[in-house]
C-alpha cells in the first residue's frame, strides 16, 4: 500500500495527461446521442461536479457534513434568481452560484471549526439542508414556491443554450476546468495539508500548519464546486423546484462518493458517471431507487471500501493518485 516510492509514481502522474482524452472523446457524443441520451450525459456532468465537491469534504477532509444538497440547491436557486431578478447573463449567474455556494461552504466550515464535529456536524448540516428546502417553498415571492422558478432564456456569450447539444459543450468546458482546478489544488501543499488534517488534526496543527485555514478552504472550494453544479442543473431543467433538493438527493450524493472512491478525484468522476447512468438504465423498474442506492452503498462499504477506483488502480497504475491510498 504505502511502500511505493515517490520516484515510481512521478512518471505516472505525467501520464495523467491521457485523461484529457476523456473529454476529447466525450466531445463526440452529440454526434451519436439522441436528445434523451444527451440530456443524461449533461446530467452526468452535473453529478460529476456534485461528487467532486462532496468528496472533498467527506473523503479528503473526512468530515461528516450533509450540507451538499444545500450547496446544490443554493447554486441552482441563485442562478435562477440572479437571472430572473437581476438580469444577469448565465455566465455571470454561474459566478454568482459559485460564490454563494462558497459562502454556504464557509458557513458550514465555521460550525465545524466551532467544534461541531462528526455527528453534530452531520445533524446540523442535515437540518440546514432541510431548512433551505423549507425556505425555497415558503419564500414564494422570490422562489415561486412549489410551482418552480423558471429560468429566462439561457445564453452563453450571446448564443442560445436551449438545445441539449449547446448545453453539453458549455458543461463539458466547465467540468474540465473545475476538475482540473480541483486536481491542481489536491496536488499542491493544500491537498497534502487536507489529508494530514483528516488523518490526525492535532498532530497536523502541532506541526505549525494552520488547520483552520485549510478546513475553511476545503469547505469553500467544495461549496463553490457544488454551487456550479447547481447552476448547471438549473440550466439543464430550465426551471428550479424545491423537490429536487430533498433528502433522497442526500443518499444519491453519498452513493456517488462511496462507489467512486472516497478521497479520490478520479473516483468522484467515476461515481458521478456510473450512478447517474445506471439508474437511467434501470428505469423499467420504478420504485427501486431507494433500494438500489441503499444496497449499492452497503455493498461498497462491506466489500470495496475504497470504491471502484481501487479496483481500477489494481488493473492500471494510471488510476493511482498520489495521496489516495487504495
Amino acid at each position: 500500500m504505502n511502500q511505493e516510492t515517490p520516484q515510481k509514481k512521478r512518471p505516472l502522474s505525467q501520464n495523467g495527461r491521457i485523461f484529457y482524452l476523456v473529454p476529447l472523446a466525450a466531445a463526440l457524443i452529440p454526434f451519436f446521442a439522441n436528445d434523451y441520451l444527451q440530456f443524461i450525459v449533461n446530467m452526468i456532468m452535473v453529478y460529476v461536479l456534485v461528487t467532486v465537491g462532496f468528496n472533498l469534504v467527506i473523503g479528503n477532509l473526512g468530515q461528516l457534513a450533509f450540507a451538499n444538497t444545500a450547496f446544490f440547491g443554493i447554486g441552482a436557486y441563485m442562478t435562477a434568481i440572479l437571472m430572473t431578478y437581476a438580469g444577469f447573463t448565465y455566465e455571470l449567474a454561474l459566478v454568482g452560484a459559485a460564490i454563494s455556494g462558497g459562502l454556504a461552504g464557509l458557513l458550514a466550515s465555521v460550525t465545524a471549526l466551532r467544534g461541531i464535529r462528526l455527528y453534530y456536524l452531520a445533524i446540523i448540516t442535515l437540518a440546514f439542508g432541510e431548512l433551505m428546502r423549507w425556505v425555497y417553498i415558503h419564500a414564494e415571492p422570490v422562489t415561486m414556491g412549489t410551482d418552480g422558478l423558471p429560468l429566462p432564456d439561457v445564453t452563453v456569450f450571446g448564443m442560445s443554450m436551449h438545445s441539449e447539444t449547446a448545453k453539453f459543450y458549455v458543461f463539458l468546458l466547465i467540468t474540465v476546468l473545475v476538475v482540473k482546478g480541483t486536481s491542481n489544488l489536491l496536488k499542491s501543499r493544500v491537498g497534502r495539508a487536507i489529508l494530514a488534517i483528516r488523518d490526525n488534526e492535532l498532530t497536523t496543527a502541532s506541526l505549525g500548519i494552520s488547520t483552520a485555514n485549510y478546513i475553511i478552504l476545503t469547505f469553500v472550494w467544495s461549496g463553490s464546486v457544488v454551487g456550479i453544479a447547481g447552476a448547471m442543473f438549473a440550466a439543464s431543467t430550465e426551471r428550479v423546484f424545491p423537490e429536487s433538493f430533498g433528502l433522497t438527493e442526500v443518499i444519491v450524493h453519498f452513493a456517488m462518493v462511496m462507489v467512486g472512491g472516497a478521497g479520490s478525484l478520479i473516483g468522484s468522476v467515476i461515481g458521478g458517471v456510473v450512478l447517474t447512468a445506471l439508474p437511467e438504465y434501470f428505469r423499467q423498474f420504478p420504485g427501486m431507487e431507494e433500494l438500489f442506492f441503499g444496497a449499492i452503498i452497503i455493498a461498497v462499504l462491506l466489500f470495496l471500501p475504497k470504491g471502484l477506483v481501487s479496483l481500477l488502480a489494481k488493473v492500471s497504475p494510471l488510476f493511482r493518485e498520489r495521496y489516495f491510498r487504495e
Binding site: 451519436f32 439522441n34 418552480g148 420504485g287
Partner: protein, 394 residues
C-alpha cells in the same frame, strides 16, 4: 499544422454522422405501425407521491381492455410506462426518452403539476399529442398549444366547484383554509380562494399542515377560536384523517369541511372507522358515482381485472375519462392515422359523455381545458352521495 491531414478523415466521418443525426426527425406517423400505437405513460410510480400513480393504473387498465376488445382499427396500444418520481429532473429525462428514444405516437398521463410544467416545452416542441390526465395546474394547457390537452378538471374547475359548494351553504362568511405547502394543495386552494373572492369572501385564516405531521391540535384549536362557517382542507389522505379526527376530538363536529380531490369518502371513512367524524366532510367528485356506488362497479371490475389487488380510491378514476375520449378520437380518425388527424379529432370532441366523468368533455383548438366542472360528494343520511350544491343531491 502538420496534423491537419491526419484529422481530415475522422472529421469528415463526424460531419457525415452529424448530418445523419440531424435527419432523424420525427414525422406525423411516429410511433405507429399497422398493428400498434405506442403510448407513453408518465407517472410517479416511485417516490413519495406514488399514490397518485393509481391514476395511471386506471388509465392503463382501460387501454388494456380496449386491446382485449381488438384495439382501434386493428391497432393495439403498446404502453410505455415511465417513472417521474414526481421529480422534475426525472420527469424531463422520462419525457425526452419517450419523445426521442421510444418515439411514441402520443403521451397520456402525468400526475404531478411540477413535472408537467417542467416537461411542457419539450413535449410542445416535439409535436407529440399529450393528454394531461391528472395534473391540475391550468397553465399546462393555457395558453393553448397545438398538441397539449387537459383531460381532467384543471385547478380552476376544481376551485370553482369547491368554492361554489362552500358558498352554496346559506350564510357562508367566515372560511378557514388548511393546506399543505405543496403544488398539489395549492392547485386546489388557490382557485378556491379566487372563486370565494369573487363572492366577497376572504379566508379568515390560512393554516399550514405539512405532510407527515401526526397531530393537528394547534390548527384545530385555532379553528375553534375562529368559529368558521366552513373549512377548506386541501390535505392529502393521511393528513385529512388526522385533521378530521382532531376536529372531532376537540368537539368540532358541526362545521362542514370541504376537502380536495384525491381523497374520497369511502376510504376516508374506512380509515377513520367512525361516521360521526366524517359526516360533515365533502370532497369534489368528478365522477358519476361514489367509489362503492353501482355506477362505478364496471370501472372497478375493469381495474381489478388487469391489476388484481389494487386498492381503488378516488385517484384510480381520474385518467380513465380522458382515455375514453382519446380512444373515441382515434376511432374517428380512421385507419390512416396521423398525429395531425388525431389532434383534429380530439378538437372535435364536444360535450362527450365518457361514462365515468360527471361532466362531459369538450375540447377545441382555443380551449384545451376539457372538463370544466366537478360535482361534490358528501354523506347524506350516512350514505355517500354525489351532490350539485349544498343539500342538493344530483
Amino acid at each position: 499544422m502538420k496534423t491537419t491531414s491526419k484529422w481530415k478523415l475522422p472529421l469528415g466521418v463526424l460531419a457525415a454522422m452529424g448530418i445523419m443525426a440531424g435527419t432523424a426527425v420525427a414525422d406525423d406517423t411516429t410511433g405507429l405501425t399497422d398493428t400498434t400505437i405506442k403510448v407513453g405513460v408518465m407517472g410517479p410510480f416511485s417516490g413519495n407521491a406514488s399514490s397518485y400513480s393509481k391514476a395511471q393504473i386506471g388509465e392503463m387498465a382501460y387501454y388494456k381492455m380496449i386491446n382485449d376488445q381488438g384495439g382501434v382499427h386493428g391497432r393495439k396500444f403498446e404502453l410505455i410506462e415511465e417513472d417521474t418520481a414526481c421529480q422534475p429532473a426525472k420527469g424531463i429525462a422520462a419525457a425526452k426518452k419517450l419523445v426521442s428514444q421510444d418515439k411514441v405516437f402520443m403521451m397520456h398521463g402525468n400526475s404531478c403539476s411540477g413535472v408537467a410544467m417542467a416537461v411542457k416545452d419539450i413535449v410542445v416542441e416535439s409535436g407529440t399529442p399529450w393528454i394531461v390526465a391528472h395534473a391540475v395546474n391550468p397553465n399546462i394547457s393555457m395558453p393553448p398549444t397545438p398538441n397539449v390537452f387537459h383531460g381532467v378538471p384543471a385547478g380552476p374547475a376544481y376551485g370553482y366547484t369547491m368554492g361554489k359548494f362552500v358558498m352554496s351553504k346559506p350564510g357562508t362568511k367566515n372560511v378557514v383554509m388548511v393546506e399543505h405547502s405543496n403544488d398539489w394543495a395549492k392547485s386546489y386552494a388557490d382557485p378556491t380562494r379566487d372563486y370565494m373572492k369573487t363572492k366577497g369572501v376572504e379566508p379568515t385564516m390560512v393554516l399550514a399542515m405539512e405532510r407527515g405531521q401526526t397531530d393537528a391540535t394547534a390548527q384545530v384549536l385555532k379553528i375553534r377560536q375562529a368559529k368558521p362557517d366552513f373549512i377548506v382542507a386541501s390535505l392529502y389522505e393521511a393528513e385529512t384523517v388526522i385533521f378530521l379526527k382532531d376536529l372531532k376530538k376537540y368537539g368540532i363536529t358541526d362545521i362542514p369541511v370541504m376537502g380536495a380531490a384525491g381523497t374520497d369518502l369511502e376510504n376516508t371513512l374506512a380509515r377513520i372507522g367512525d361516521i360521526d367524524t366524517v359526516k360533515n366532510y365533502y370532497v369534489p367528485h368528478a365522477f358519476i358515482d361514489t367509489v362503492d356506488g353501482p355506477g362505478m362497479k364496471k370501472w372497478n371490475d375493469m381495474i381489478l381485472k388487469y391489476y388484481p389487488g389494487e386498492t381503488i380510491t378516488g385517484f384510480s378514476y381520474v385518467s380513465i375519462g380522458s382515455a375514453v375520449a382519446a380512444v373515441q378520437a382515434l376511432k374517428n380518425a380512421g385507419p390512416d392515422l396521423t398525429r395531425e388527424k388525431f389532434i383534429a379529432e380530439l378538437d372535435k370532441i364536444k360535450d362527450f359523455d365518457t361514462g365515468i366523468f360527471a361532466t362531459n368533455i369538450t375540447w377545441s383548438a382555443d380551449d384545451r381545458h376539457g372538463v370544466k366542472e366537478s360535482a361534490v360528494a358528501g354523506f347524506v343520511d350516512g350514505k355517500p352521495t354525489v351532490m350539485k350544491s349544498w343539500n342538493q343531491p344530483m
